[in-house]
Symmetry: C2
Subunit: 237 residues, 2 copies
Amino acid sequence: MTESVTSQAEQDYLKAIYHLAQDGEREKIGTAAIAEWLAVSAASVTHMMKKLAERGLVAHHPYRGVELTTAGERAALEVLRHHRLLETYLCTQLGVPWDQAHREADRLEHALSEDLEARLDQALGFPTSDPHGSPIPTKDGTIIAPPSRKLAAAMPGTTVTVTEVADEDAALLAYLADLGMVPGARVTVLAKGPFDGPLHVRVGGRDYALGDAVTRAVHVTTATTTTTTTEEVAGAE
Amino acid sequence: MTESVTSQAEQDYLKAIYHLAQDGEREKIGTAAIAEWLAVSAASVTHMMKKLAERGLVAHHPYRGVELTTAGERAALEVLRHHRLLETYLCTQLGVPWDQAHREADRLEHALSEDLEARLDQALGFPTSDPHGSPIPTKDGTIIAPPSRKLAAAMPGTTVTVTEVADEDAALLAYLADLGMVPGARVTVLAKGPFDGPLHVRVGGRDYALGDAVTRAVHVTTATTTTTTTEEVAGAE
DNA sequence: TTTACAATTTAGACGCGGCTAATTCGTGAT
DNA sequence: ATCACGAATTAGCCGCGTCTAAATTGTAAA
């Protein structure tokens, strides 16, 4: 109810922590990871973490990492909601290219009022996910995380459906769009090269070998309940 | 061509100077006027003026006032273009009320990219004025200031057309909308009270007595070339 | 012409968010 | 059990934009 009056910088840090927590598995997020993500020095991160800890938005365990508190996660989700509504609006209503919308939204999200947020939501028909397939948090701070895994973790031989594509890297996004790997696309995992080699997949009738950066950016779900047996079918080409 | 990299604060000051120069008649704008307009101390204004003067955006004549240079005016018009395109978009495409759009645009204008500016412009069909009747500067920094005067300066007995309504005061704007004094409305000036008394006008078949703040916020043009003779017709009620 | 006052500028300080350099802490290797 | 090293924190600084208090200046009145 009370306005937290979080500054733009604070919001960026909260968003970063939320993102890193989603991305990796570990709970505690290290200072270095945040620093790298935000292109900022480690000292700046520590400084901000102490500030956010005082505000009760973050639990800071010195030398061991930080994690969002309930209030912090709520604040992060509010920013994320702004971001994804904007992204959706920019793409669908103003024709901003898929791979540019993220950067635009990053700048606009901090200037979006609650009223305008509601208007965008309504104009879009209350969407539940953005153009990249990422779920849009609801107004009350709920987010439905679809049960998806990274394509990197998909079993060879299975056919999966793309649910979500990370929107941070515009070039990667453009590449994926070119391949036809957009949310909803069906991808057949053919084989995994040895020693962290490329993942061979078939999508839209064509085969590709995808590197690690790519397969970690794409989230998929085993659509047709392929009874996740360990069938190591390796049908290349 | 070169990015001036003007900060948000700098843009706000440039906008303020431009506005005050338009509003009043004098060329040189005083420190106090800027300070009041931006709700900032006079010392802060002087500080910023020196900074802007160094950047060549402002001509600072110590103790005598400042005025925008060509570069400064260009920068101000760029911000103003962002502002008015946003205002127009918010009103017509998202249904934001007339009197709220200004505040929203004030926050969004600094985060609007050139690309998005172009998309808004196109989506709106390349408008030349915003919902308040204010002209929208063109991309190349041209602005067509329509030959209008303040309603306060209109001669009693004439009938004028509202061309523009200042958008800074939401409450005033709501009041004017209620009266039907929107751009395009025809207003008959009945009489002017003595000693800066209220201006009696007829609009939409009804008569009103308007205070100074109101008549200075409304710009009008003598539409039907009413041969501006000094006919002091005083027909009240 | 002098003077008083209001407007303006200067001086000095603060909070924010950032940085570099130095220090402290955890932990994996010995 | 120790040690070395990388990660994290602390210390101290900077620029921006703001402020209050103390000069300074322009000008209008006497």
